[in-house]
Amino acid sequence: MSTMKPFLPIRRRDLLKGSGALVVSFAFHPVVSAQSRSPVAGPPDPEQIDSWIAIHNDNTATVYIGFAELGQGCSTALLQVAAEELDLAMNQVSTVGLDTHITPNQGGTYSSSAMRRGGPQVQRAAAEARQALLQMAAVQFRVPAESLLVSNGVVSTLDDPARSVTYGQLIGNQLFNQPFTGNAPLKDPSTYSIVATPYPRNDIPLKAAGTYSYIQHMRLPGMLHGRIVRPRGQGAYRDGVQVISIDESSISNIPGARVLRMGNFVGVVAEREWDAVRAAGQLDVEWNQPENLPGNDNLFQQMENGHTNERIALEEGDVSAFDNAAIQSQFNGTGPYQAHVPFAPNCALADVRSDSALVMCSTQDVYNTRTSIANLLGMEADQVRVQYHEAAGTFGHSCWDDVAQAAALLSSMAGQPVRVQLMRWDEHGWDTYGPAHIGKARVAADSQGKLVSYEYEGWQHHWSLIETSEQTAKGTPAAEWPPFPAQQINPLTLGGMYDIPNRFLLNHHVPGLDYLKGAWLRSPVDLSFAFVSEQAIDDLAYQSGLDPWHFRQRNITDYHWRDVLDAAANAANWEPRVAAVNASQSGIVRGRGIGLGTHLASYGGAVAEIEVNIQTGEVRILHLVGAIDAGLVVNTSNVENQLIGQLVQTASRMLLEEVTFNTQHVTSLDWASYPILRFEQCPEVTPVIVQRLDEAPSGAGEEVMAAAAAAIANAFFDATGKRMTMYPFTPDRVKRALTV
């Protein structure tokens, strides 16, 4: 194993000489090699071609990508985009890990942004590099650039294919030194040979062989193992954690372990990991943890009855049209707090010195984390270097910033590099959960089954801005993110797919400091929105005596929505009939349902087939179809895999997942108290892509979940003739719903 030499002076042009070595050192070696170091603080200048593309002597290219591989396959798909525009083969392109000293700032990897935002940037940079390379070849051959052909990075002249030169010969290991204007012409999509194919992911063979390095495998020379010590399960966000006393003698039988404390932030470090684990479990700390939470029992009552801040999210026409409409429906429902709980608890390493800091973690936004770590340590941003290393799929903002801060704090106190691995109860108990939601829908249709009025009111709190490590160490008060729309009710999922003349959406922001910590969880709050909204729509179809697919068709003119709706129904072999005609209240009954929804872009449609055991209240999801229109799908296999994951995760969230808490703290702290779907419960799933070669990628990481949640809920009604007003569909809750 090589030794790390932090901050060795190496510049980008030196990196270019080490063709390929950089990639290897990032992707496969758990210890960061010296070659990957740069003295220049990031970000690289995004206005330069060289910040995006480097061509090497051996006619390969390194593409610098500012998006995180989260297991969604974007590191392969973005290379497909680059290879396509550069006219290189996939085995001629590679990328490097995210690093604030090396990769450009493309913003965070969230909201299904990697292909939506990143795809066009990488595409234009690759097209511009290709244009520059062709210009060089044109000069060399003294012919117009238009008379040149490129294949696999070999440029030849149209009239004499023997006259050829490779990209590597043209510029290998040198800089373009050209500004990135974004003006180079792009390929005609009809000529794509790499994009819009199911190209196998680069990372999978390594992951199957067990040689892939996750953040959990990273080690720094001379490092200590650290663990955070907190009460088991968070209380109210405002309260954070208060230490009354610590009895350090309680770990005196573990000589290798030491307690480190800053304010109310407590950790232990040890040379051996097991010593750190034992010490963290054994350390006797008296905490002050007040009973300031509503608990599950009073959650929704407190949310609705307390002070809220109102904002009209949408107002069109006049919803008093409801009053005289032929068919009316009012439906109220709630969704619980749900947890990210990545399969591997978050992990981070930090080496904090007097004038610099290195943090290795799995943040989805290295530049944002760099700012937060700099603030925490009292440094300038350019003194902090943040590297991304993949962890287990996180599906939103789990504890990755919290653990990065914890590692930085412990390293600064220990004077040594520290690796912090969260324990299972840390991740389950101190997550920034997907917020709970109350929704009330009031919708109406005319006698022809045309929607005439739609009202929705939603209650939820915002996301938590201050991480618990900072809150406890520095005393920074808890605070929510400012009120931007992604945290609030979503006009797209809430009736946005239908042609409705009168619509009114009212958001009730519940001030969040007296609740659990919150953040974005895959398809944030959309499952709850669709659960309520699409059940109300379904009820109008039922009251109208119409099949729920046909009812929706009547009210949609947008071809995107129409196509995902039809694609899902057709893939499910949907036979039109009115819902619940076969509903029964005994034995094991089957039902099927349809639903629509999305997040901030793209379009999702879904069909669910479920089975309800009337006696036991047990619900099985037999089959889920999910159809997505995400514009251009660059890698069809990846997106199918994303759809499979979304459908299975939605089944898990609808049947099983609910954060539990009493008035003092969270009580769901592991996979027994917060179960997720297992092999035996996994439904058959059918992913369907509505491909749009001529439309821009719009994101495919989360957009069928809301539709699938709605389809499951509507299937329950079809099976039983009763509607669920809260998920997950636990046996007790189901039995209560059946007796209403």
Binding site: G71, D203, I204, Q421, A651, C682
Partner: protein, 175 residues
């Protein structure tokens, strides 16, 4: 000083007797196959084979491994070869099938899926879908990749049968 046989190599460790095997594998041997997931034997990310039986290394103290043989993902090709009487290949049929199916997302669960799936296939190379679900039920995947994993296990089993590989002939030869 304890001695443990890991992937057919005897290693020595001065770790405390109650140290879970996982920490010896990840910290002392720096293996990347077995990995921390819960520390509670609930998820399967730390799984290894102990004398051929899938075992959670996060709760197995090294003191319990005297005279036993531990196989990690790093040793799975050799283990599979010995169990089936085949030459050691670069990968097992299950690993090949998982790659073909592009079955994973983050892949962190893969250690456990391959360890458990190998145990299953060596016991029953033609499992039904229901048998696969039952056998694998103690292994979680947060990304929800179960459907493609089930297909990969079925595919691997079919390949083993087509190739005439049965655990029995391997066991007889190695006996």
């Amino acid at each position: 000083m304890a001695e443990i046989t890991i992937n057919n190599t005897v290693i020595q460790t001065d770790a405390a007797a109650d140290t879970p095997l996982l920490y010896v594998l990840t910290d002392e041997l720096q293996l990347k196959g077995p990995r921390f997931g819960c520390g509670l034997a609930q998820c399967g990310s730390c799984s290894v084979l102990v004398d051929g039986v899938e075992t959670r290394s996060c709760v197995t103290p090294i003191s319990a491994l005297q005279g036993k043989s531990v196989t990690t993902l790093e040793g799975i090709t050799a283990f599979y070869a010995a169990a089936t009487g085949q030459a050691i290949a670069e990968s097992t049929p299950l690993q090949d099938a998982l790659i073909e199916q592009q079955a994973l997302q983050c892949g962190y669960c893969y250690n456990g899926m391959i360890i458990k799936g190998t145990e299953l296939l060596l016991d029953n190379p033609s499992p039904t879908e229901s048998e696969i679900r039952t056998a694998m039920n103690g292994h979680l995947c947060r990304c929800g990749t179960y459907p493609r994993i089930i297909r990969a296990i079925q595919t691997a089993g079919e390949r083993m049968q087509t190739a005439g590989v049965t655990p029995e002939n391997g066991r007889e030869e190695s006996a």
